[in-house]
C-alpha cells in the first residue's frame, strides 16, 4: 500500500530548512525516548523523510526503532515558533550517504543563523549540533501523520495531506 503524499513542496522545504530537530522512539515497555538530530533530508518523491543524528547520543532511540519502527519527529523554527510533528511506523536505521556528512556543517551554520536573532551565540549552536562523520547515523521513515504544534490552543491539530500547518 502506498500512503497518500503527506508532504507538499512547501512542507518539505520547511522541514529541511535548518530547523531545531528532535526525534522520539518507544520501547516495548511503553517508555518514549528522545534525541536531538543534526540534519534532515526528504526523498525526491517526498514520501520518505530521513533524520541524521549522532549514533553515540541515540542509543535508546535506535533500539526502539530497531524493535518497532515507530518514530515521531518535531521540527521547530525558532524565530516564528512554527512547529510541526511528523509520525511514522516504518522507520529504518540506515547508513548515512556520503553527502550527509557534507551537510553537517551547512546545517550547523544555517541553524546558528536562525538562532542569532535570539542572541544564541554561534559556538553554542555548533556545539549543540556537533557530530563527527564517523558517528553519524540515519533514520528514515514514511510520514503518515502530521500535526501542527505551534504554541497555542490549536497545537496538536492533525493536518490533512498537503496542509501547511503554518
Amino acid at each position: 500500500m502506498t500512503s497518500p503524499e503527506l508532504l507538499d513542496p512547501e512542507l518539505a522545504a520547511f522541514i529541511t530548512g535548518n530547523l531545531s530537530l528532535q526525534l522520539a522512539a518507544t520501547d516495548a515497555a511503553g517508555l518514549a525516548t528522545v534525541v536531538r538530530c543534526v540534519g534532515c533530508r526528504v526523498s525526491a518523491d517526498r514520501r520518505r523523510v530521513t533524520l541524521l543524528m549522532p549514533r553515540s547520543q541515540a542509543t535508546p532511540v535506535l533500539a526502539g526503532i530497531a524493535a518497532n519502527g515507530r518514530v515521531a519527529v518535531v521540527f521547530n523554527e525558532p524565530s516564528s515558533y512554527r512547529t510541526l510533528q511528523l509520525k511514522g511506523r516504518d522507520a529504518r536505521i540506515e547508513a548515512p550517504l556520503p553527502e550527509d556528512a557534507d551537510a553537517l556543517q551547512p546545517y550547523a551554520a544555517g541553524f546558528a543563523r536562525r538562532l542569532a536573532p535570539l542572541q544564541v551565540p554561534e559556538p553554542y549552536v555548533r556545539t549543540l549540533v556537533s557530530c563527527s562523520p564517523e558517528d553519524l547515523v540515519a533514520v528514515s521513515f514514511t510520514p503518515l501523520e502530521a500535526y501542527a504544534q505551534t504554541p497555542g490552543p490549536h497545537a496538536g491539530r492533525r493536518l490533512a495531506p498537503g496542509e501547511s500547518g503554518a
Partner: protein
C-alpha cells in the same frame, strides 16, 4: 569515578532558556514529541511541567505516566535525558504561582503572552538522569562567588544591634557582596495585606513608604504565597506600574492604598526576584531585586538570598524582642524643650486615613501618620520631646493593627520619610525603645476632620 548526576547541579537546564523536548508514548505504542514551555526545578527528586493546553502529551501521560525529557545546559550545551513519572497536577498554591510568574517571563520573551495561560503545574518524579555524550563548551563563571558572599553577609548581619542597622546592612550586603544594583526592602503589614518600602537602592527616588498590596506583581505574589518568585525575562504581566494601577483600582484597598508616594523600580526589568523574609513562620518583609539584564538571577542566587533573608528575618525578630524587653514605659527626666522660633508651618492631619501634610506637601499616611500627629500634639501640649515605643504601643488611638506589629519598622519609615521630605522636623533614636522628636520650626496643628 564520577559522582552520580544530581538535579541540583543541573538547574541551569531548567530555566527555560533552551527549550526542552518531552517524549511520551500513547496507548497505541506511538511516540509523541513536543517542546516544553517550562520545565521547572521543584526539589532534587521532582520537576514540574507547565500545563497550558490539553494536548497529546497530556493525553498520553494520563494514560501512561512515564516520559523522557531532553534538556540542554544554556551555557555549555551539555544534554541530559531525564526519565520522569507523572505524579499530580497543582492548580493553586506556591508551586503554581512560581510557575505562573516564570511562565509570564518566558511567554513575553517568546512574544506569546496571550496564549500562555497556566492551567496547572504537572509534578513529575525524576527516576533517572542520563548525561548524553557529545561536545560541550567550558562552564561559565559569572558574578560573585555566592557562598563567600553569603558568609560575609551573614557575618555582617550578626553584628547589627538594631532593626535599622539590620535593614541598612542587608541592603549594603546585596550591593557590596552580591553586586546587586537595584533593590527594595518592603516590610509586611500582614493584617492590612500590604507591604511598604523601608529601604531601596539604585533608584532616583527612594520611594520610602510606597505600598504594594499582597498578590500584586512579583513582590505581592511572593508575600501572599510566602515563596520566592523569580522571572528571567521581561514580563509585562508583572510590571508594577500597570499592575498597581489596574489591580489597586479594582480592589477593596483602592481607597486605602498609598498612591501618593510613587513606587520606585526599573521601567522594564528584564530579571526580577522577590524573596519573602520570614521569622518563625510569619512574614516579616519581602526583599526585591531587579536588573535590566535577562537571566541575571539564577537558582543559586535565589538560594543564597533565601538563606540571607532567613537570617535577616530571625535577626529582626530577635532584635524586636530585645528592644521590647528594654523599652521604658515612660521617658522621664528630660526637660520640656522650648517651642522653636521662626516661621510657623501648618501641619494638617486627616483622621480618615491618618494622612499628614506639611504645608501643602503630602508626607505620609496610615500608622506612621497617626504616630507623627500624636507626637506633635503631645509636644505642643506639654513641651515633651522624648518618647518611648511602649507608650505608642499602648495607645489605642494609634490603631496598631496587631500586638506583634513591628512598630520599630514604622518609626524607621517615618524617620526616613521625614529625612527625605523635610529638613526641620525629624525623629531620632535615643536608645533602645526610645526616641526624640526634633523640631526646628514652630508648627500650627490643624485637624481637618474630627477624630
Amino acid at each position: 569515578m564520577s559522582q552520580p548526576l544530581s538535579l541540583d547541579r543541573l538547574r541551569p537546564c531548567l530555566e527555560g532558556i533552551v527549550p526542552s523536548g518531552i517524549a511520551t508514548c500513547g496507548v497505541d505504542g506511538m511516540p509523541n514529541i513536543t517542546y516544553v514551555s517550562q520545565l521547572m526545578y521543584v526539589d532534587p527528586e521532582h520537576v514540574a511541567l507547565s500545563f497550558q493546553f490539553f494536548n497529546k502529551t497530556r493525553e498520553n501521560i494520563l494514560a501512561n505516566p512515564v516520559a523522557t525529557v531532553l534538556m540542554m545546559d544554556p551555557d555549555t550545551a551539555a544534554r541530559y535525558r531525564l526519565t520522569l513519572r507523572y505524579l499530580r497536577t497543582e492548580t493553586a498554591g506556591p508551586l503554581f504561582e512560581r510557575m505562573k510568574a516564570k511562565l509570564a517571563g518566558i511567554a513575553s520573551h517568546e512574544g506569546m503572552s496571550a496564549v500562555f495561560r497556566l492551567l496547572g503545574a504537572d509534578v513529575y518524579r525524576v527516576q533517572a538522569i542520563e548525561a548524553v555524550p557529545g561536545r560541550e563548551l567550558p562552564p561559565v563563571e559569572e558574578g560573585p562567588a555566592l557562598l563567600p558572599a553569603l558568609r560575609r553577609s551573614v557575618d555582617a548581619l550578626a553584628a547589627c544591634p538594631s532593626q535599622e542597622s539590620l535593614i541598612d546592612c542587608f541592603c549594603t550586603c546585596l550591593e557590596r557582596h552580591f553586586d546587586i544594583r537595584h533593590q527594595m526592602l518592603l516590610m509586611a503589614d500582614v493584617p492590612a495585606a500590604r507591604l511598604y518600602i523601608v529601604a531601596s537602592r539604585g533608584y532616583a527616588q527612594p520611594g520610602t513608604g510606597a505600598e504594594v498590596p499582597f498578590g500584586v506583581g512579583v513582590i505581592g505574589v511572593a508575600a501572599r504565597e510566602q515563596v520566592p518568585i523569580r522571572i528571567m525575562f521581561p514580563a509585562s504581566d508583572y510590571a508594577y506600574s500597570r499592575m498597581l494601577r489596574d489591580q489597586a483600582a479594582a480592589s477593596e484597598l483602592a481607597g486605602q492604598l498609598e498612591t501618593r508616594i510613587p513606587l520606585p523600580g526599573l521601567a522594564e526589568p528584564a530579571s526580577q526576584l522577590a524573596v519573602p523574609v520570614m521569622a518563625g513562620g510569619r512574614l516579616v518583609a519581602v526583599a526585591y531585586v531587579e536588573s535590566r539584564q535577562e537571566c541575571h538571577f539564577g537558582y543559586d542566587l535565589e538560594d543564597a538570598l533565601v538563606a540571607l533573608a532567613a537570617t535577616l528575618g530571625l535577626s529582626m525578630a530577635a532584635s524586636l524582642c530585645a528592644e521590647a524587653a528594654e523599652e521604658p514605659v515612660e521617658v522621664r527626666g528630660a526637660p520640656p524643650s522650648a517651642m522653636p522660633a521662626g516661621e510657623p508651618v501648618q501641619v494638617r492631619y486627616f483622621n480618615r486615613d491618618g494622612s499628614v501634610f506639611l504645608g501643602d506637601d503630602y508626607l505620609i499616611k496610615g500608622v506612621a501618620g497617626v504616630i507623627l500627629w500624636r507626637l506633635l500634639g503631645d509636644h505642643q501640649r506639654t513641651g515633651r520631646s522624648e518618647f518611648s515605643n511602649r507608650e505608642l504601643r499602648l495607645d489605642p488611638a494609634l490603631r496598631l493593627p496587631d500586638v506583634c506589629d513591628n512598630l520599630e519598622a514604622r518609626l524607621i519609615l517615618l524617620q526616613r520619610r521625614l529625612q527625605e521630605r523635610c529638613g526641620w522636623l525629624g525623629i531620632e533614636k535615643t536608645g533602645r525603645g526610645r526616641f526624640r522628636l526634633v523640631l526646628a520650626r514652630p508648627v500650627i496643628l490643624l485637624a481637618e476632620e474630627p477624630a
